[in-house]
Amino acid sequence: MARPIQEINAGSMADIAFLLLIFFLVTTTMDVDSGITRKLPAIQHEDQPKPPDVKERNVYIVLINQHNQLAVEGELMPVNKLCDGVKEFIKNPQDNPNLSEKKEDAVDIPFFGMMELSKGVVSLQNDKGTSYHKYIEVQNELVRAFNELKDELSMKKFGMTYKDLDDERQKAVRKVFPMSISEAEPRNIGGKK
């Protein structure tokens, strides 16, 4: 009575697999999370000493009003000029008295030796009515300015972009151009709403 073992019909296997495939196709999200990373300042307690005042020439004031217009150091500016403006302000190659000052003491930085660092700080202020995409656009330009400064420096010194440097060199470059963007405590600028 040795009956041959019946074969299982594998024809519907494809259907089952398709069903599963479609389920995963629908539920899948391929996006990787990415964005502009910033650090917020810790909250200032009243009993703590206030941070030292910064001289006016060392602050690069960027304002965005509720009509999404940009004012830099008191003058209207289109967004695409902001990046170059910030770079010029931080580097200040001709020692222009309106742009950022250098620190009095040169600092010893590995790979670079004694360097005169800029005291410049970019200050960003926005109105309640500023739209978020304008704010991100401006943030993006500011970050781009600092990234380009770092890239230029690493190109000149090491012949590579900042991204390709090893950790220690990156750290040194970061010391020369720290990301000094400060955001003012929120308040209403450009009238009440």
Partner: protein, 154 residues
């Protein structure tokens, strides 16, 4: 000539579909591995702004999300059209952020707490007023590392 015509009667032979399940299974495994299940059900619409200088968020377990945007159609009757924020699955108030952050912190490994990042996923049409309030709350909760979620501009 007859020599060549011998088999010419049957038309085109059927393509064997025996390997079809294998191909489908291969695709299936690819999607199974690469998939991440959608964790939250968004009740608001979020269209991210574009940026070029973006960084990837490395470890998903270190990231907590705050969504900001106008409620989607189905919820507009209940919540109106003003931008709201969503934490996990619920539309919340700004004042809930501190509790949310400490709850997220509780879930984390102790060593990871300093690396905790808060990702703000806000719609590009949102006004800065609500974002600024969120930032102030985050400062109060001392969750200082933030990420403005945005798409890569091409």
């Amino acid at each position: 000539m007859a020599k060549f015509n011998r088999k010419g009667k049957g038309g085109t032979p059927a393509i064997s579909t025996a390997s079809l399940p294998d191909i489908v299974f291969m695709l299936l495994f690819f999607f199974m591995v690469s998939t991440t299940m959608r964790e939250v059900d968004l009740k608001i619409s979020v269209k991210l702004p574009e940026a070029t200088e973006i960084k990837k968020l490395e470890k998903k377990s270190l990231v907590s999300y705050i969504y900001v945007g106008a409620p989607i159609k189905a919820y507009q009757e209940k919540f109106g059209t003003e931008p709201r924020l969503q934490l996990n699955d619920e539309l919340s108030q700004i004042s809930d952020i501190v509790t949310y952050i400490s709850a997220e912190r509780e879930k984390m490994d102790e060593n990871d707490i300093p690396f905790m990042t808060t990702s703000i996923k806000a719609d590009m049409e949102v006004k800065m007023g609500i974002i600024t309030e969120i930032k102030q709350e985050l400062r109060k909760a001392s969750a200082l590392k933030i990420n403005y979620s945005s798409r890569k501009a091409l």
